[in-house]
Amino acid sequence: MERRNVLKGGAALGLSLALGPKAVLAAGKPKVGFILVGPKNDNGWSQHHYEAIKKAEEKFGDAVEIVVQESVPEGADAERVMSQMALSGAGLIFATSFGYMDAVQNVAAKFPKVMFEHATGYKSSANSATYNARFYEGRAVCGHIAGKMTKTNKIGYIGSFPIPEVIQGINSSYIHAHKANPKVEISVVWISAWFDPAKEADATKALLDQGCDVVLSHTDSTAPLATLKTAGAYGFGQSADMAEFAPKPRLSSIIDNWAPYYEERIKAIVDGTWKTQNIWYGIKEKMVVIGEISDAVPPDVKAEAEKIRDSIADGSYHPFQGPLNKQDGSVWVKEGEKPDDGTLLGLNFYVEGIKGAIPS
């Protein structure tokens, strides 16, 4: 928050204390709250939400008051923070992590006049919506580049937790790496964290030791890229562009682009047109953006990758287009078909060709 907003906030607070809650409401300025799971400068997931918030703040200027709370633990604490935001006058609250799901539902039930937006969850109600991005679409593009760029035919994947979103990413990466290079193998390391630079760096080293020379990460920090840089291997920006690591080791990136959605939904609150919905946007709607493919990638590979990106955007290609088999060899998706969203949202198995088991 800018300093002048703070002064204003302080003044508003003083006023509210002097005049009671009604005075604040009388001001009539919509208040929008955001809670972030990590620090707002984590260089990944939370920072990217925060940057989108800043953009929305710039766009609406004085018309909307935006409050942000970072590093909110999932569970009881999130419930309290959201309740306090609602009580202090917020009319719309964004909860930007999956783990806030039940907390959002509890608080939304308590405050029927406050609207809620929950990222990546699957529970919604009359005053709570969900929004999520099809990250696996980005993985298709990166997977293709990874398959073409590996010299050892081994690519690595740093997984956070074995939830459907991450398994979609691993499968999509492998499918497209394998299409680009049939000799490719994928190794997955699970670190049981979304943001832990030390563990992410260790996992990267472990993958490098196994002979991987391209590593994709499904975690939030820049530690994997920093480690890949010293080792001379390749990787991708995750959540944020991480362009400071281009052209090597960062070949491209999957950018979570939340700003247009935030602006759209805040506008809906201002206009009084907000309605609940369940959104799963991808490359087409520009919620998933492929960062610039660097010069370290040969022009023909770059062109192929961009073609995958564009064909996903225009709907002519689906990353999980059949025929696809499950890891055990049984048929998952038939030729010419594609899985429905419900199947993808509950995905809990690897596709054929990936070795190892999903931890359970």
Partner: protein, 361 residues
Amino acid sequence: MLRLEKRPNPSRFWIYGTPFLAVALTMIAGGIMFALLGKDPVAAIKLIFLDPLFNGDVASYSRPQILVKAAPLVLISIGLSLGFRAGVWNIGAEGQYVMGAIFGAATGLAFYPTESRLVFPLMVLAGAFGGFIWAMIPAILKTRFRTSEILVSLLLVYVAKQILASAALSFLKNPEGAGFPGSRNLAQIPAMANGELIAGTGLHWGGVAAFLAVGAAYVLLQRHILGFQIKLAGQAPRAARFAGVNPDRLVVLCMGLSGALAGLAGLFEVTGPAGQITIDFGVGYGFTAIIVAFLGRLNPLGILFAGLLMALTYIGGELAQFMLGLPAAAIQAFQGMLLFFLLAVDLLSNYRVRLIGWGAR
């Protein structure tokens, strides 16, 4: 050169005065930090200490929340303080807290779907047992092999967190949760829910247990031979041995008791405010409780007040974050200052600083 000299008779006034001085110094240093961050220090301190209690918009909600937040802190701290007084350093309450929650939740979920009223008491027992067992590992390793209970208990926190992640992802995962991590929401199962006992107070069974623990610890330390042994073992280990105190027995007892209380805190949290076993269930109560124990001078009543104060800084800190835009790290630094100043002021009340050298003998 500076040298510390033990004061033969530390002032009684300062023994009780230091916590207040530490809070005052924290406010001053914290205020300077907030000012350096470009925030109004007076507004920030006021938000942290007064608004959760008196702000017209939020106080009706945040006041009960102080009790919700303080209950596990006090419950864990009471257990830890007994060990700390006896010189038994259980640093791993966070792990015992997590294991208590896992044991308790697993016991309850094994009977799902049940409507029996007996299941909650059973879960409480299982929670205490989970914490107890986890604390027995460092205790027995200490008494048998002379390992450091500080290191073993601390490192077991990380083991417990791995088990927690595994519970949330596999054996306690909600079968109806679409493959997402996390157990069923216990707070939504009537037979297993630890809800508010008196509406609008924030008091749940964990709060009741915390008050009972404060009372029991007070009686134990004032009236019971075991309390005497605990105090003696901490102040004069050799004298304690001559007086027939078995140090190994004391280690097992203090570790077991603190583990069981931490386990209980975990159980009450998972069935109440948290609701679910999730990967991030452990948010650090077990570590914060160490600060609370010292802030409360290892005295049961002191711990009660220290726990409430700490809870206040948490809730006020959240208000300050989103109302003033203070970074979360600044609030954590503020809480850290509290312990720092307490220990520093303590040192000065127990020791005298002497200038020596350069001829000034």
